[in-house]
């Protein structure tokens, strides 16, 4: 049963969530793509690009590749999100804010057990969140949940979150799919030190085996609290990093489902009636980080010139075959902000800005040592050559790129900002001048002020407008250039049925079934 859920609606105080609206949202979200009656049994074989990196939130804050699908099959959140700011109950029944908005009380579901027999209760939630908030543990996702002060037990099945101030993104923090923060692990498994390699949760599937770089196997949880679920007996997740190999594995029938965003494969598989496609909009953007802290990119004229020389649409077509989405800001939902002052290609303007700068511009571009990275390097080099800017592409692997970025020893580097239903915390982290996550070293006092205003506001509409205003100011300053928005495509055999993924969510293999 869905309980009364708390949600801050708009300005001048805090309003309560309308349960009916949530019920409708939940019903819509749960509506399957295929309306056929689900069948039980079968093994689903999935091929993704990346293997898991472990399941302990302290050690692995970001959910990647097959690790994400495994975690979401084995563990559960307190709430799911409906993609529009509403909460759908899972292990939590309701989330209710105090009148001042600085405390949230979460009621928990009874009668649920972790796969190792440990009961799910307030102790489990407090233990998990206590670990994340303990500064000693140096949890790396804390930048996105700084306003949370503590979590305390107020009953066997009730906990209370204490916040520094009113903070609307709290409900997103409880329900997003970005990391392991939201997924509640068995306290016993964490204490015994086994959870990182063998996760234990309350989810519809029980972890069985993880053979690194080969496979992760999860099997049906016969005692799952949602009676009648899951439908599949087993899921095998294989990491296959090479795109051609992954495609061959699907085409030869060795797996039933694969993830890709390679233009050639997308074209072939989209036109093949044997497969169904689901587009996974994961939000955020991939961008060219410009080092705003050292010459010549500390001069806004040079950055603006590069922004006008950059042709995102051409790049997306040439490098991704129009598979990746176009982006004029990082906030998602392109239409909701209207015109954000995106700098469109204009070579004359770009040349004039470079002439105004008056000095030769030579830059090093650090990109990933992949095909796409190399292609991007060449395209950047060619586009900027048109305005007399010399670019030297330099391929590096991930740790190498990160070292250059954190050492501020870069001019241009590929980077990304993740997506979420509430982009406030992410925006704060990557744009505030004092933030250690501001890799561009972008400084704009007005933007800093707006960032703080949106953070402290309890008015969703004000926050949305403020975030859009920030996007406009940022586009004016051009501290980075947009490569593309982030999305993936999942191709699967037509005899597999799945629910539509939620906005900025992940596919849920837990709800899949096979003919």
């Amino acid at each position: 049963m869905i309980g009364a859920l708390g949600k801050i609606k708009h300005s001048n105080g805090i309003r309560w969530i309308v349960p009916i609206a949530l019920l409708v949202a939940a019903a819509l979200i749960c509506a399957p793509i295929h309306a056929a009656e689900p069948k039980y049994g079968g093994t689903l074989r999935y091929a993704g690009e990346l293997d898991a990196r472990g399941f302990d939130a302290i050690k692995t804050p970001v959910l990647l590749g097959n690790g994400a699908l495994t975690a979401l099959a084995v563990m559960e959140k307190l709430f799911e999100t409906d993609g529009d700011g509403g909460l759908i109950p899972v292990l939590g029944l309701s989330a209710t804010p105090s009148p001042d908005g600085k405390t949230w009380t979460v009621k928990l579901r009874r009668g649920v057990k972790f796969h190792d027999g440990t009961p799910f209760n307030a102790d489990a939630v407090v233990k998990h969140w206590g670990r994340l908030l303990d500064p000693e543990n140096r949890y790396r996702g804390r930048s996105l949940m700084k306003p949370i002060l503590s979590v305390e037990k107020t009953g066997d099945y009730e906990v209370r979150f204490l916040l520094k101030h009113v903070w609307l993104p709290f409900i997103d923090t409880l329900s997003n799919s970005r990391g392991l923060t939201t997924l509640i692990p068995s306290p016993k498994a964490v204490e015994d030190g086994v959870h990182h390699r063998a996760p234990v949760g309350t989810g519809p599937f029980v972890f069985k085996e993880w053979k690194t770089a080969d496979r992760i196997v999860v099997v049906k949880n016969p005692d799952y609290w949602q009676k009648g679920k899951p439908y599949l007996d087993k899921i095998v997740l294989k990491p296959i990093s090479d795109h051609e190999t992954r495609y061959a594995t699907l085409a030869s029938g060795q797996v039933d489902m694969m993830l890709t965003e390679r233009p050639g494969h997308v074209k072939k598989l989209s036109g093949d009636p044997k497969y169904t496609t689901t587009i996974l909009d994961i939000g955020g953007v991939v961008y060219l980080a410009l080092n705003n802290s050292k010459p010549p990119l500390d001069d806004p004229r040079v950055r603006r010139a590069l922004a006008h020389a950059w042709d995102q649409k051409k790049y997306i077509k040439a490098c991704t075959g129009d598979v990746m989405p176009y982006a004029e800001h990082w906030l998602g939902d392109e239409r909701s902000c209207g015109d954000v002052g995106y700098r469109r290609p204009d070579l004359e303007k770009a040349r004039a800005l470079i002439a105004e700068y008056g000095k030769p511009v030579e830059l090093e571009y650090i990109h990933s040592a992949t095909n796409r990275g190399r292609e991007t390097g060449l395209i950047v080099q060619q586009l900027f050559k048109k305005i007399g800017v010399k670019v030297n592409p330099r391929p590096l692997d991930f740790p190498g790129i990160m070292k250059q970025i954190f050492g501020r020893k870069f001019d241009i580097a590929s980077f990304m900002v993740g997506g979420s239903n509430d982009m406030g915390p992410v925006t704060m982290a990557f744009l505030h001048s004092k933030s250690p996550w501001n890799v561009n070293r972008y400084v704009n006092e007005e933007v800093d002020e707006l960032l703080l205003e949106q953070r402290m506001s309890d008015d969703p509409e004000f926050r949305r407008k403020t975030l859009c205003a920030i996007a406009k100011k940022v586009n004016f300053d051009a501290p980075f250039l947009y490569l593309f928005g982030r999305s993936y495509r999942i191709f699967y055999k037509t005899d597999i049925h799945m629910k539509a993924p939620k906005k900025y969510g992940r596919i849920r293999l837990a709800d899949a079934w096979m003919d």
Binding site: R197, D214, T249, S252, F398, P399, G400
Partner: protein, 324 residues
């Protein structure tokens, strides 16, 4: 000198030399990996980390210590039988290597068997029919096979046998526990890809050595006795012509112990090579060092066995050693 004493002294010296090689290789690898830009802390921290997070991870993992101190700490743990655990996913290094060994060893064995099955008949035929059309055709075919990059031949094999004909799986590894045929099927394409390249040097050296052997007096004697050609070739000529073949085979097996990197990646085989390459990209030092140690020990051990085999194959070598 007593032959047993001689052999113990000879192999004792050899073992000491091999131990020194293993130490030197591990130290060199440690240094080379350390010179790569970025370290494990950047990989572990991910894109949402800050510089202070990275520093904290580095401190936790001991990466901020001097390289000599780190190497000394690592080698002392190794001598106690502890290879450590993966920085990136917490898996024990020894367990990671052991779990990949069946794949690597099976790939190694099957590919070398395939290579020998191709190389021995072709080498013998080339030598027997030296400078004829048969020899020239075999040589041309061999060079053609060698000049095709292994990733191209792998993809072509996948295209025909997995995607078009659907006879064999395109990728992946099926353990023996899931059936012998299923297991063998998963190795046919990758092993063939390797064998197509590796059979060529084997064939060429066998052909050359056998041409020389076929000039020997005892072969002339065997022929003059009217023994059938196949009997002469396989019973009398093959063994003394195999010394260089065994050396090359040893080297090939030695480098395959480290996994056939490209083949393991293309065919998604979870072998030691794939483990190593992933660890290098992720700066997972413990895994890199553990793999290199394993590969070095494997390589020198194979060469040790090859040295021993020389004396089995050719008694003259045994006598030369005994003569000092």
């Amino acid at each position: 000198m007593n032959p047993i004493k001689f052999h113990m002294k000879y192999f004792g010296k050899k073992l000491l030399r091999l131990f020194a090689i293993v130490l030197a290789v591990s130290a060199l690898t440690f240094l080379m990996v350390d010179l790569l830009p970025g370290d494990a802390a950047y990989e572990i921290a991910g894109e949402e980390a800050s510089l202070s997070d990275i520093e904290a991870i580095r401190e936790e993992l001991g990466l901020n210590r001097n390289i000599f101190v780190r190497y000394a700490a690592w080698i002392s743990e190794v001598l106690r039988g502890n290879l450590g655990e993966s920085y990136n996913n917490g898996e024990r290094v020894s367990a990671a290597i052991v779990s990949r060994l069946p794949v690597t060893i099976e790939l190694l064995l099957v590919s070398q068997v395939f290579a020998l099955l191709l190389a021995i008949p072709a080498g013998i035929a080339g030598a027997y029919k030296a400078e004829t059309g048969v020899d020239k055709s075999l040589s041309s075919a061999a060079f053609a096979m060698m000049s095709i990059p292994i990733f191209v031949s792998s993809l072509v094999l996948i295209y025909f046998f997995a995607l078009k004909l659907r006879w064999l799986p395109a990728t992946g590894y099926t353990p023996l526990s899931e059936g012998l045929w299923a297991n063998v099927r998963s190795f046919i394409l990758p092993a063939t890809s390797i064998a197509m390249v590796e059979c060529v040097p084997l064939m060429r050296v066998l052909r050359t050595d056998m041409i020389a052997t076929l000039q020997e007096d005892y072969i002339l004697m065997a022929r003059s006795k009217g023994l059938p050609a196949l009997h002469v070739l396989f019973r009398h000529a093959l063994r003394p012509s195999s010394l260089t073949l065994v050396t090359i085979l040893g080297i090939q097996i030695g480098h395959l112990i480290g996994g056939a990197l490209i083949v393991e990646i293309i065919f998604a085989l979870p072998g030691v090579g794939r483990l190593l390459i992933g660890a290098i990209y992720g700066r997972d030092y413990n895994i890199v060092q553990g793999c290199i140690l394993f590969i070095t020990v494997g390589y020198v051990s194979v060469n040790f066995v090859v040295d021993f085999l020389y004396s089995v194959l050719d008694p003259r070598i045994r006598m030369e050693k005994a003569d000092g």
